[in-house]
Amino acid sequence: MAYALEGIKVLDFAWVGVGPITTKYLADNGAEVIRIESAAKLDVLRLGPPWKDAQPGINRSQFYASYNSSKKGITLNLGHPKARELVRRMVPWADIVVESFTPKAMRGWELDYEHLRELKPDLIMLSTCLQGQTGPNALYPGFGQLMAALSGFYHISGYGPGSVCPPYGAYTDFIAPRFSASALLAALDYRRRTGKGQYIDMAQYEAALHNLMPALVDYFATGRVLGPMANASERYAPHGAYRCEDEEGNEQWLALAVANDAEWRAMLEVLGAKASDARFDTHMTRVENREALDSFVSEAVRHRQVQDLVAKLQAAGVSAYRVQNCVDLHQDENLEAFDFWHWLEHKEMGPSPYEGLQHRLSRTPGELRSAAPILGQHNEEVFRGMLGLSSEEIEQLQKENVIF
């Protein structure tokens, strides 16, 4: 069966997280995505762990591999004029160009939208960087971890005022791509209807703030600043993570959210607990007496088996699940039933574990069509096939550090 995006062609100059994750959506759904990289300035993720067998190497990083499935990889040293000339020859082939350098880079190389649209008038081009193409901090260097702090996610993660317990990793790198992929797909439809391409300037910062919109609207209206508040909720009580019996030396925690009286009674029955405390009489008073409530629940579950509790609570209509660590995730039956984990054959790493898609289409399902490329894996195929270069010309360009 055909893939949804078959026939769409993408030149992908992006690196690290947001850009490659954006084009991965396209590649896994059948678009032909060519990633342009260079040994002169390696994608930093190629240098990041985890590495196959814990041995570093530019073709051994699963960090890089996870975001570059289904793509072809070529190398071009854009600092070299001959490399830029080859890019100009490739642009007419592309429907979409994506790049994620700091804003001045593409302009400096004369590979910005104004130049590329002369070669391909209906081109759709996306530039994604941390703070956008314009403004005083457009050239801010950094990566997603810092963006998660700057856009406000660190400040709402902690046990209370003064406590900061950040989310793991570059959190905003996993927000922005869903916007940029939507943007590209909508722009493709607009081009189909009107014949017009366009330029899209996306700041990760601005996209990420959409995940905090209620708190921003609130601040502008009333001056209230949302802060860290552990697992407190105005909506659910109990609401949090409660420690259960350890298993094989590992802590086990139960995530639990109780929405109303009926669920509260169901929970008590499962826990075999009696709540004689008057502070627990109504949902409202339970919300107001969170600390006492947390102690009560903690005591009731401390020596229970977490998976047994989850099954019984859910059977009784209460929202609950184990707080899963990364080993648990690889053994999770629901992720398995969704066919989430994939082992793909990588040219250097051999069989490697990839996260699959987070959605499934019934008629034109996407899939991880191939493992990520090693550096320059498709040089021969692309430079011969698309540009018609001979083996001698390719060899010569390699010697000159153009294909590099």
Partner: protein
């Protein structure tokens, strides 16, 4: 004028906080998004906190933010008339997004199989906490439960204390945005085939995807991460990434090697100017300093890191986060303030890009509200500020009469019978 990106396309939204963000993104892109609410109102109207802490169906900050740009109709799905209205609306829609418990809409004749029979173009997205196949497919999942099932919760917090959620629930945001991408992927082939399809979004998987490089760590490196508070890495190689300053916190990852050294050298130079750098720090070859990453961390490395982190914090404590951030921008030091919404509201970069926009709420709230603006700047089809979120059933007449051609008499009978 609304963006022309998806002009002329219509989405029906039958979703709570698991999927309302999908409709919001479609509305931003210019689609006509019709929110179908139960007669008592969508549950997202009751999500606290409320504007000025006044509980009211038009004052939930969640509702104000994420239902903006949509139209609202009411339909009681428990009645045959209510269901018939939704069927008719679906016939005239291009997209549908829903987040009911798995199988509920099928059971009342509003599933994909039923609705696609009269509209084969329909793209129908179901947002599910755990997918549609596994043993937990019928499990209930409040946002915190998805945060836990997807693995992010395990990594947030301190050793010996409970794992954490963020103060503003996030799983529904990831899932809603994923539904938007997936629906638009399905849209592309429909333009030639004329055929829609069913989309299933798995919320748990959406959270797993946010774990960055952690998933393969147990497989390739033999262990999994624990909660480490303000540190990153395992206990013996841990590095601090959040430091106190005079009015809050700064996030910085002090690294050597080609990626980190230029920034670290700039930081050390700045500290040296102010008398906060030790001599060894000034003499260090930061370019080849990568302990605990590409080489083992020795006792001496550990001591140096501890001293470095201690000195950096003492240095930062002499300044505010904005003072540090401004100077770091000049010196190209890779750091960021641990910003609050107040910091974002005052940020000069966002101001220069005119990011925040006004949304008129005069008729409902007697005021205007400030919103985050376009998530991206489109040269040909700019995203404009949304209309305010709708009142309950505000567009019943407009939609049921204008779109479905129902007369006044029919409308008032539907109202009396509790269908709308």
């Amino acid at each position: 004028m609304a963006s022309e990106l998806l002009k002329g396309f219509r989405m029906l939204e039958l979703a709570d906080e698991k999927g309302s963000f999908c409709g919001k993104i479609f509305a931003d892109l210019g689609a006509d998004v019709i929110k179908v609410e139960p007669v008592g109102g969508c549950s997202t109207r009751r999500i606290p906190p409320f504007l000025e802490d006044i509980p009211d169906s038009d004052r939930s900050l969640y509702f104000i933010a994420y239902q903006a740009g949509k139209r609202s109709v009411t339909a009681n799905l428990e009645t045959a008339d209510g269901r018939a209205l939704v069927t008719e609306l679906a016939r005239q829609s291009d997209f549908l997004v829903e987040s009911f418990p798995l199988g509920y809409l099928d059971s009342i004749g509003l599933g994909y199989d039923e609705l696609s029979r009269s509209n084969q173009r329909l793209i129908y997205a179901s947002i599910t906490p755990f997918g549609d196949k596994g043993p937990a497919k019928n499990y209930k999942a409040a946002d915190i439960v998805t945060w836990a099932s997807g693995g992010m919760m395990y990594l947030m917090g301190e050793e010996g204390r409970p794992p954490l959620q963020m103060s503003l629930p996030q799983a529904g945001m990831h899932a809603g945005a994923e539904a938007a991408v997936a629906s638009l992927i399905a849209h592309y082939p429909r333009q030639t085939s004329g055929l829609g399809q069913k989309v299933v979004v798995n919320m748990q998987a959406c959270i797993v995807w946010t774990l960055m490089n952690e998933q393969a760590m147990p497989i390739f490196h033999g262990d999994f991460l624990r909660r480490t508070g303000v540190f990153v890495g395992s206990n013996d190689t841990r590095r601090k990434m959040v430091f106190r300053c005079s009015d809050g916190h700064i996030s910085i990852l002090i690294m050597g090697g080609p990626v980190g050294a230029p920034s670290t050298i700039a930081l050390v130079n700045w500290m040296a100017e102010k008398g906060f750098a030790a001599d060894w720090m000034k003499a260090k070859d930061w370019m080849s300093w990568v302990p605990g990453i590409l080489m083992a961390m020795t006792q001496k490395d550990r001591e140096e890191i501890d001293e470095l982190e201690d000195r950096v914090e003492k240095f930062f404590l002499t300044m505010t986060k904005q003072e540090i951030y401004r100077e770091a921008l000049k010196r190209r030091i890779l750091l960021a303030p641990v910003a609050t919404v107040a910091d974002a509201a005052a940020d000069e970069q966002l101001k220069a890009r005119k990011f925040f926009v006004q949304v008129d709420h005069q008729d409902t709230l007697g005021r205007s509200l400030t919103f985050p603006g376009a998530f991206a700047k489109f040269s040909a089809t700019p995203i404009s500020p949304p209309r305010r979120a709708p009142r309950l059933g505000e567009h019943n007449r407009e939609v049921y009469s204008g779109l479905l051609g129902l007369g006044d008499e029919r409308l008032s009978r539907l109202r009396t019978e509790g269908a709308i």
